[in-house]
Amino acid sequence: MRCEEVRTILEEQPTVEFSPSVRQHLEVCPACAAYAKDWQLVSVGFRELSREPVPEASWGFCARVLRRIAEATAQPEPQLDFLEQVGKRFVYATLTLTLTLLLALMLPSSGPLREPAAVDLYLVQPEAVSARADVALGEEFPSLQDAMPLNFTNGGGRGEQ
């Protein structure tokens, strides 16, 4: 018998008693004898592996499969998808606008975040004018009182003196 033939027989029936011709070949062929021994070992391993308990599917397995199928098959229609996109953009734009308006109303009328209001500018104007007058009159009239005509002062003015 040829080695290949013997090995095929060994693989098919590793645990069955071999025929005389196979045994005869194994006695004279150390390579096939080693092959037989190894294959016997491996087939024991296979047998033991096949006896290992297979894990059971967990509870609700079928329902989960069906849910995944539903998810996989659910495809939104293109028109609805378009409308949904437009709707979303509209909502986002409205929200942004509302938020901006709210912020504008809530912020204080003055402060570090905002310029002084027009009313404030109007109220401080006389002070600003007086300050400018000081500058314009210079050192000759150190105060506004000095620069006023005589008849505007109380009592003894310069003219009376």
């Binding site: 090995r7 095929t8 693989e11 092959y35 021994k37 190894d38 294959w39 016997q40 070992l41 491996v42 087939s43 024991v44 391993g45 296979f46 033991e48 592996l49 096949s50 290992e52 297979v54 894990p55 059971e56 599917a57 967990s58 397995f61 079928c62 989960r64 499969v65 069906l66 995944r68 199928i69 539903a70 996989a72 098959t73």
Partner: protein, 198 residues
């Protein structure tokens, strides 16, 4: 070949309704075949944490392609074919970490498996030896190329006949025998390399 077997009985009706897009009918098929597919995937992949997810993906894939099922083979065989292809893709993706399973064993256990099978005539009678043989084969399967791993699993672990294996793999029985012989031969060569510490 199992021709047009599924046409008879409620299974054929479930398949037809599934082909018409009724997931509830497909649920009946899931109930019927989940154990078989789970066992097949578990034996091929051998990673309990990932098996259920893979089986779910297989059933989703099967539902998506159920219209292409033409009742030529039994529904179980058709489904097993999808499962095998899915496992094959998975194994190819995982190929970079093929020795992970062995690496998962503790260092002491690794050494135990190694030394036991470095001996010239390992005994096979004791329970410990059987466990060691099991771990050794698990390790060899893990190192085997995906093609070998799948064909050996179908034949040696799931106990399928040559004809069934051929149906699932879509090859002739004569080719199954040739491929099996080559896969076994490669496995034994790998066993030698393992003993030499490679």
């Amino acid at each position: 070949m199992e021709n047009r077997k599924t046409e008879i009985g409620p299974e054929g009706e479930w398949v037809r309704r599934s082909q018409n897009g009724e997931p509830e009918a497909f649920g009946q098929l899931v109930e019927r075949y989940q154990r078989r597919i789970l066992s097949l995937v578990y034996h091929v992949v051998r990673r309990p944490a990932e098996v259920e997810d893979l089986v779910q993906e297989i059933f989703v894939k099967a539902f998506m392609g159920v219209r292409s099922y033409s009742f030529q083979a039994s529904f179980g065989t058709w489904l097993s074919r999808i499962a095998v292809n899915h496992c094959y893709d998975y194994l190819r993706r995982q190929r970079v970490s093929r020795v992970e399973y062995y690496a998962d064993l503790s260092e002491g256990r690794q050494r135990q498996v190694e030394t036991r099978f470095e001996q010239p005539n390992p005994g096979q009678s004791s329970h410990e030896d059987q466990i060691a043989a099991r771990e050794l084969v698990a390790k060899l399967l893990d190192r085997a190329p995906p093609d070998d791993r799948i064909i050996l699993t179908l034949k040696e672990l799931d106990g399928m006949s040559i004809e069934e294996t051929g149906d699932i793999l879509g090859i002739k029985p004569a080719n199954v025998k040739v491929r099996l012989h080559r896969a076994r031969k490669r496995m034994l060569e790998d066993l030698k390399r393992l003993r030499e510490g490679k």
